[in-house]
Amino acid sequence: MSAQHLKTASGASRSLARSRPRYGEVLVKAVLMLAALVSVATTVGIVFALLEPTIEFFGEVSLGEFFGSTTWGPLFNPPAFGVWPIIVATLEITLIAIVVAVPLGLAAAIYLSEYATPRVRKIFKPVLEVLAGVPTVVFGFFALTFVTPLLRDVFPFLELEAKNGLGAGLLVGVMIIPIVASLSEDSMAAVPNGLREGSYALGASKMLTSVRVVVPAAFSGIVAAIILAISRAAGETMIVAIAGGFKSVFTLYPGDEMSTMAAFIAQAGSGDASVGSIAYKTIFAVGSLLFIMTFAMNYVSARMVQKYREVYD
């Protein structure tokens, strides 16, 4: 039967390639590609939205003043444009968040990937997903009205202000736990069982296998997850705007009220800075800085996954 088919196919002296272009198929492909290009247009749009006002901003405020002084108050009169207070606040809150999220997230990932039975996974995975889906205003409210008062009662010697970096940072940390956990778990799940079995065969315990074999094998994925979490924490707005406050005085003490870069953008953007004013342009200058910082981290994270991923077959 197949021989007959072959014969008719060759006998018909037509090539198997399509005889005429299928315009419908070409059109479909073009439409699909257009949809994919929307994402590129988004990036271009962001860059354009940021670029012009940022250039105008630096026409009025020198780079030296922006990066060289430590007084920040673009909305005050007279305005001051030393950006360090909000950069330092952003770094502090990000650091607190990472200190919370990395151990908890990583431990959760190891448990889910190495220890949990399918039934336990079925319970805990949705919990992490729900946690990831809690809106950040909710975390902000919780930080301001529950966590901070609790901290003030339990640790009065910390002299926390009503709005402070610590309460905000802790909640930003909780917010990024699911990111660390789920991405790390994905990369641990990708470690082939042969490595684990080899480790057991050499006499290693489950703990040793997890810590010394699985975690190192999944290391690039874990680092990528952490970098992504850092970038999320640095750009988080609502929690810090609600629980961290808007006071931008240069401070290293997390118990003080502090404004991060994102919180400043939210504060200035929700106010009524008139278009073209220096306060309006400052939003975009700080936005550019935040965008560059997070974009660089995301890029490094994506490259880490691509470049250092161990390929097992």
Partner: protein, 296 residues
């Protein structure tokens, strides 16, 4: 005797030497997960408890008011959120799914522009939402002159959730085994026929799950709307896409920032409504995934 006992696994044999440390490690891991669970439970109990006095019909029947916090409601916020989500679903889901089909089924990975699109999407997924607010403010509201309207808000949030839709739809499409495609092509179907009649139907549950999660992200988002003039207390429901608006998370934010204690209660009550909507959507997504996910 020895024959009857269950055979010990390598794990059990190996952990014989130091059971205490092993146990402590295991408990520490479990405790980390439990902290997340306990935290979530505490948060939910707290907001329900705080918001309880205001959890009645006046909450969604009344409009927000600065002067009368004890009877102020959130109706304009609920309607604003519904408008935004409806439009976002109309814009972001088709675009995202089509883009995912392109990247999974058509894109030649050796071409630089396809790699650029991929890198770009993974980068966009992690751009802070406040930066999307700047995009909405600078390009859509001002440059395109859409103003502070529902349309501006919906476009901004659509662009924000687009990478999430694309990434989850790609995973769903990738999960359909190549043999399905090859079978269809071998029967003479064109590539688009194969995708439309075989690949898409098989990946619908996965795409739906991802889409619901992306939309629930859009519902909870507040930061971009702060930049788009939604921050004031709007006392009327939107009448169309060119109407000014407020959304639920923004109303919650503006309640939180007011000093009176009644507003704190109101904020908690509104949070309960918001969380209830999101939990419902999350459960539907998880149910869909568990119920319809095929193992090939």
């Amino acid at each position: 005797m020895a024959v009857l006992s269950t055979p010990k696994s390598a794990v059990q044999l190996a952990s014989k030497g130091r059971p205490l440390k092993e146990h402590l490690f295991r408990i520490a891991l479990l405790a980390s997960l439990a902290i997340a669970l306990v935290f979530l439970a505490m948060l939910i109990v707290y907001v329900v408890q705080e918001g309880w006095p205001r959890l009645d019909a006046t909450l969604w029947e009344n409009q927000p008011s600065i002067r009368r916090p004890e009877t102020a409601g959130i109706q304009s916020g609920i309607f604003g959120t519904l408008w935004i989500i409806g439009l976002t679903a109309l814009m972001a889901l088709p675009t995202g799914i089509l883009a995912a089909i392109y990247l999974e089924e058509y894109a030649d990975k050796s071409k630089w522009y396809n790699r650029l699109i991929e890198l770009n999407i993974s980068n966009l997924a992690a751009v802070p939402s406040i930066v999307y607010g700047i995009l909405g403010l600078g390009i859509i509201a001002r440059w395109m002159q859409f103003g502070f309207t529902i349309m501006t808000g919906a476009i901004t949030v659509s662009l924000l959730v687009l990478p999430i839709v694309i990434i989850s739809a790609r995973e769903a499409i990738r999960a359909v085994p190549p043999s399905i495609r090859e079978g269809s092509l071998a029967l003479g179907a064109t590539q688009w026929q194969t995708i439309y009649r075989q690949v898409l139907p098989a990946s619908v549950p996965g795409i739906a799950t991802g889409s619901i999660l992306a939309l629930s992200r859009a519902i909870g988002e507040a930061a971009p709307f702060l930049m788009l003039g939604a921050a004031t207390l709007v006392r009327f429901n939107p009448e169309g896409v060119w109407s000014s608006f407020s959304v639920l998370p923004i109303q919650i934010y503006s309640f939180i920032t007011r000093p009176q204690a009644e507003f704190s209660v109101l904020a908690a009550a509104a949070i309960v409504i918001l969380l209830a909507i999101l939990l419902l959507m999350n459960s539907v997504a998880i149910w869909l995934r568990n119920r319809y996910q095929k193992r090939w």
